[in-house]
Symmetry: D2
Subunit: 353 residues, 4 copies
């Protein structure tokens, strides 16, 4: 129970189901005196919202936020920031036919078994709609952490990989195409792939790479709350995520110590950065970078077997307006969760000064 | 600050440096009335201890635990269990020559920058010695979770991979060789590889795979405290870990929805298990399985450049008794951290009943 | 920071200022499957709302709650319950004249010093308006704890005391008069006192006594989270509270051991109950009872000196519609906070079974 | 479960029973670089230890602490401080005759009912022996908060009250007598009273007053974690405490607003301080003061009825070496818990700067 809060100091609590009145949350612990850029906040929400391009779900939902407290004359007051994002797209249609059906690889079955009751209208609490609240909070965290940059981008879609290391990329181009890959040639291939997948009524997985630039030395709280451990938890808490690696990641497991060690420059920076900017769980001032794996969306527009609550295998067909690939819309979510982790450690680190 | 506790209900707090008097901790929230098997606890500690075989560090340290509270007539009382493991191997030698040296890819630099003070005798708090406390607590958690099995094994050392899926393995053979790989042929190659690496004064990375069997349906607390998110954090909090994936993991990011979806059997089990036993962050009764990447140990017995606190690049040479590959000794640590996560969710889940 | 949550398992987070758009909150950890009685919830809110009688503030505010999530077909789903209570009474008047004035014994000065910024329109976050969210959550907690009764009543107003012990009172009469004292004769004196006080533009303090009946044996988590310690914190977190005592309380400090000890009956109950139903921080099955002291409201309708932010002493006069005595409206708040404490420990105690 | 930690940032976790091997704990979150005065720490422990004067228990226990981690070359390193205090006085005598007896107004009955198992040798976990760990941690907190003074003193024993307000007292005299009352004449009466009580084999309650001087403006985290709410919880978590009041306290409940309001001086200080240095849950720079009620110790050296676990009323007689009045030894405990609360808020407040 009570797994709906994230962060110790800069703490977000979210609520809301996909087909309820609204989603929303409370941000508790945002420092006072932060002059908010509301356009920038809405812009982040727009990066996540449905219907933004022709390779994502065509559902229309404006995702406009209403702030209820904690902000006065445009700046934060140090009191909790309550906010609500209305669900304008939920239909008053009849859901009774799916009331008792568990879709494969969705959370229908596990929610029903755990809670004994389920809001069967769509994904309910397990819907990725909840991540809009995270993006909103992340947008505020980014403003708090103004000196830190947190670019993320699509690094693979299915078997199409962006082969260049992040150092060779121009992050200003991430938003220049709908798949959010900063390499134009690769982006085109990815977009084409996603369109093909959509045509066959299927979905496809992908990966997101994120880089944290200008992170101060000293963030992270060993031994359990290491910087990368909290980043990992944050990413794994996002819908559809199956894996997380940072720095050398799984490749590092094939390497030798002499290859892997990052030798120092005299200013404390390192010549290489296989460590991924973190040593002993604490940032060392180099770029922190990590990669996140997303599985393909479970809802496909093809006939599939499902289970009903009486134990019968039934045939069902997904319909409607789903993402053929979550990765383009996941970019702002990954950035937001990274910002929440950093904001928490950034504030915690003030205790040492 | 205060990052030395793990768990919400079954809560472990650890303390101790590698070269101090002792390490130890407090287990708060262990249910009363659990009759402890102390031999089983020591056995787990022995699986982690230095000097246990010829492919690990030859340091000798018995790692025997002294319980100080919370246990009466052999059973837990519901009060906190305090325990201490003495450091018998720390030498009273002169460490002043390394007092100001930051070793590459160790935590020397980041601890010094974060805290402004550092116990320079060995790894201090960042030493993997701290994980003995985790193994101890994990051994108790395993006894609490008697019906759940948590086998882990070495699935790769450098570029030598155990190619078989876990379903084809006989976990009873994990302890039959020093590298803890249940496939004899692969184990031999791994052992040989580690010996070669040690001869050249180098180190090598590897991966550990862990399977959680007989996990009850319903464990995990969405949306942030998903079962796999906490498992990920737990694994990433272990020294030298660079990546975590569960179920289909990074491979899943290349797949299509129709390939990836796990179709149901009529009893609620699934025909495939790419989900890794978790849907929507909640266990579904299938095996939970995951893979953890460990980088090569940073201490190599070769000359390397290091940085001193005055900003000079100095030459240093690792010496002594270090692990050429951490993976064999990491097996019980991975199991222990998995047990801690499960124990917490297992107890939390009682709230629903 | 982040002091706006209460409870570990049954967790309430509140937000909102008196003159903002709305107040509200999130209840995380309410068990699923609880069929809610919405009339009972509104009834509790009505007991707290302004304007309910002629001895409380005459402000009119309906305090109607809108639930946004976590409830489906009238029952809780186990997901977080988001709710909002609109501020309908905030005036769009000009507050600039009090913008820089710190009223005596209000929180204006301390909020400004702590946060460096302040919503100067009324009490802001420090207003007792926030307690409406607590009463709402308490109403749900009461439904969760159906077997436990939590009557509270006014036990003194100024120097008028209800001299009878709680055992001699008929709690069904608490709501029969506007001051919420179950003894009619005393109630009349209290009401008369409050009317006099109001006429002179003054305010008066008082005490509330609360009894927890049918509390199961075993609630409370020593050594720090003792049942009475959490009850004390809960009560002291209510606006205007200056003291808390339970069982024999401050009188017990004058007694001898032989007078104070509660001798057992053979069924485990005790012949006396100076312990107040708690031993070693754990409920023993007897009534838990405690008393809470409320200071007089700081806003008086008389001229008083105040401080402005430039360091000048200025004269100001409270006006408008304030409570001459908070105690009658505090009754449901005391009950609600007691219910939150009990709900948390009640759920925690399931871990033992 | 898991109620053995106190504090969010400066966090103490304790363990240990009165008749086990040792008590001890972990201090997590103490800032690095604090040069510790170990004599001052031991001095605080000596103020609490048994056998220190002729009006307290004559048990002999040196209460010497062994630090195991977190301190290097005399200063804190920012890593957790593990410590152990051996139980040297526990006897290897036969406790089987009291194994099944619940003493009146002790925690025997409630521990047994809650946990189903009980360390029956003495008070076990519910013994005040655990508070030695608190005093130790408080001694460190005091050194962290060097500018704040935290004098406490005995303000009543039974019906003997120290009538002077704290402003008229010379705190340097607290340690000049064994009852820790800074007024000599009253101290003598109190001591005489305690000696009489002891002679009759009885015990007596009392109160402690504590003053926090030079507290910075801004400590406390509304709305739930108000400074006085946490102080209240801290005090109520001490064994035998039945009540807490701060500032005007229960007397304030009899007052009028015009009498109670603290008018400002132009420097932000107030002419009176009925608020007790806290407004809206936040310190305002004036003295914070509060009073704590302790019941008489339950163990009396007279025959009393007790209950056995089979439901029989049996006769028992307390014997041995118990405190006739806990108040003199409670002084350092009250100070310690106040220091822990202040340390936590002091560190949290750094987040605003």
């Amino acid at each position: 129970m009570a797994g709906n809060s994230f962060g110790k100091i800069f703490k977000l609590t979210t609520f809301g189901e996909s087909h309820g009145v609204a989603i929303g949350g409370v941000i508790d612990g945002c420092p006072p005196g932060l002059q908010l850029d509301f356009d920038a906040i809405q812009k982040e929400l727009d990066r996540r919202k449905p219907g933004q391009s022709d390779i994502v779900t065509q559902r229309k939902e404006p995702d406009s936020v209403e702030f209820l407290s904690g902000i006065f004359e445009g700046q934060t007051t140090g009191t909790p920031i309550g906010f609500v994002i209305k669900n304008t797209n939920q239909k008053s249609k009849d859901y009774s036919h799916i009331k008792t059906v568990y879709r494969p690889s969705h959370a229908d079955y596990t929610y029903d078994k755990k809670y004994g009751v389920r809001d069967y209208r769509g994904g309910g609490r397990s819907s990725a709609r909840e991540t809009a609240s995270r993006v909103l909070d992340g947008a505020i965290a980014k403003q708090l952490l103004a000196i830190i940059q947190i670019p993320a981008y699509t690094s693979s879609v299915g078997d199409i990989f962006l082969e260049k290391p992040y150092q060779d990329l121009d992050f200003s181009k991430v938003e220049s195409n709908s798949v959010r890959c900063p390499d134009e040639a690769t982006a085109e291939k990815m977009i084409s792939k996603i369109k093909d997948i959509r045509k066959e009524g299927n979905t496809i997985g992908g990966t997101v790479t994120c880089v944290l630039q200008n992170v101060p030395v000293g963030l992270g709280e060993p031994v359990f709350d290491k910087l990368h451990a909290e980043l990992g938890k944050a990413m794994l808490s996002i819908n559809a995520v199956k894996g997380f690696e940072y720095g050398s990641g799984f490749c590092g497991a094939k390497m030798k110590g002499t290859e892997h060690n990052d030798l120092f420059n005299s200013d404390g920076s390192t010549k290489t950065n296989l460590s991924g900017g973190i040593q002993g769980g604490i940032s060392n001032g180099m770029d922190v970078y990590f990669r996140v794996a997303f599985k393909p969306v479970a809802t496909v527009i093809q006939k599939q077997e499902a289970l009903d609550s009486s134990g019968n295998i039934v045939e069902m067909q997904g319909k409607g307006r789903h993402d053929p690939c979550v990765v383009p819309r996941a970019i702002p979510i990954v950035e937001a969760m990274a910002a929440l982790v950093l904001a928490d450690f950034y504030l915690l680190n003030k205790l040492y000064n």
